[in-house]
Symmetry: C2
Subunit: 203 residues, 2 copies
Amino acid sequence: MPKIDHDTKQKILQAAEKVFHRNGFKGTRTNQIAEEAGISRTMLHYYFRTKESLFQEILESTLNMVFTHMKRLIGQETELENLVAGIIDVVSDLFEAKPGLPSFIVNLFNESEELAYFLAHTQGDTVPLQLDTILRQEKEKGTVNLKLTGEDLIMNIYGLCAMPYLTMAYIKAKENRDEEAMKAFIRERRSMITSFVMKGIAP
Amino acid sequence: MPKIDHDTKQKILQAAEKVFHRNGFKGTRTNQIAEEAGISRTMLHYYFRTKESLFQEILESTLNMVFTHMKRLIGQETELENLVAGIIDVVSDLFEAKPGLPSFIVNLFNESEELAYFLAHTQGDTVPLQLDTILRQEKEKGTVNLKLTGEDLIMNIYGLCAMPYLTMAYIKAKENRDEEAMKAFIRERRSMITSFVMKGIAP
DNA sequence: ATTATTATAAACAATTTTGTCAAACATTTA
DNA sequence: TAAATGTTTGACAAAATTGTTTATAATAAT
């Protein structure tokens, strides 16, 4: 029967997520995690054998989060405008919940070709494909830019949504923004992005 | 009088740039650099005392490159459409010349709050300010979306241009693209981005 | 050709980072 | 309360990473 856990384990997980997300596996030192969690580094080995296996947990829970969010998209909308708005909302919600996620993904792809390959081939293509179908229909109707592929559109949306997170430190410093100002900036960007993208795909 | 240098120094610089750009300072191991350069790790200390000072060289030359490119923008154009197209070209050229740059900047901001602060405050605001001025004029004319700031517009452009580089490994894996296919993809994106942005800022 | 200088690598040393262990402490259960 | 189990820490050990030295080879200058 388990004895009480002074929530050390949770503190470690939170701290590890934060640090791994920001600096990737090779870029983080386990004592950054310990400091961030306010515990001794030994505890990290007590609850999770190694740095590697702690990373694995974070990786799994992170990918789960991503997949869960993405499921919100599948087959939801058939109207281009609604679909696009929906994607932007889902992606924005995801990044708002996990601000370190964009950096983490970038780090992941840079650190491990294999993982990039794995993700490229396991992750369902439903969303880009659905977009492609709808885009093709709209192109026939002449209501959409001819040269835009579903892949490009998705990439544009991710890029527009991820930027403030990827450059957080800079954006904060630039206009002396605190956490609150940052949140406001990002909130305002969401509607900006939606209209920017909708106009952007016009013929 | 210096004896010949079997271009080892250059090979190290090239390799270091590649690896530091991809993985940041803490994320790189000096022997990754040595391997990439095809030389022994000792040489790295022979030409550049320490990992730190090698990084410093790469950092300086990288920032120089960025500033040099950015100078191409200042006061060049007063017409919104031309200015926007110009910015997209300059940024695209820069990333094409230094494909690792987007990741490097992201890593930099994540590794060092101080550097992010420094860059936010030294780097001239001329471009965003110029954009803001022109945007304001266009808004009065009613030819531009009311809610778009110069800061947002710049961020959008960087994001759209940087995405393929930030997710290179994934993009390559996804459609089995080799170097050539990748270049073609990016070339095509440039004109897509230009029209996407131009439409995006419409009223 | 001989010497002086530069370039290279391999072995070695120092430092940093990660991982383990044993002892102390706390909590539960019996 | 006492045994059993879970938690925490600090000291220690191992491994990985960085940095230095020494010996050797290559190149240039005299």
